[in-house]
Symmetry: C2
């Protein structure tokens, strides 16, 4: 059993192109023996965003703190704490922090079989 | 893409034996096309708890609100917002709300392959 507070997890800069002012903490991953899916905590500073992109795996996201924007193929939706999203494989998406406070989410991804 | 606030999801009473004063909301499940894992939101009223049990799948849990207790095989640990847990297949576990306020977590489980 692993039990920690997310702030105890090392904060990393995602290597992916198109990410700005965002950090990631890999809370639960293959290193812990998680074989099916991983839990990451993303922190967006004001002005921070992920790329507007798509990929062949899904996201399951839950908003913890602050206010953000979900940009999809055609629209922009406000995000607030308690919101959750299921982004299917192949769907265009981006998260943006256009506020003046931190925006924080959990984002889970599958490990490929 | 599915985007909702968790309070918009129907609150259900878990059918499992040994659950007391706990509700579950299936935020993301197979019904949404999630093939690999499901996201549920559990709300524990004061005095509420899940069974002290084990099973052959893992949990990935994140504490959203309130204070709880994680009971494992041999010990009890306090839980607070921002805590996360990886409970491996076969590990004994229980979550309890011994406080006088609501305790709320996200708990994700895999779909079997």
């Amino acid at each position: 059993m692993k039990h920690m507070h997310y702030t105890e997890v090392e904060e990393q800069i995602p290597a992916e192109e198109g990410v700005r002012d965002v950090t990631v903490r890999w809370a639960i991953s293959e290193k812990d023996g998680a074989k099916n899916f991983a839990m990451r905590v993303f922190t967006f500073q004001p002005g921070g965003h992920t790329p507007h992109h798509k990929h062949d795996w899904e996201h399951e996201i839950f908003v913890l703190e602050g206010n953000g924007i979900l940009r999809s193929e055609e629209k922009r939706e406000p995000l607030r704490p308690g919101d959750f999203m299921f982004i299917k494989p192949g769907e265009m998406h981006q998260m943006r922090n256009e506020s003046d406070r931190v925006f924080r989410v959990i984002c889970l991804i599958p490990y490929k079989k």
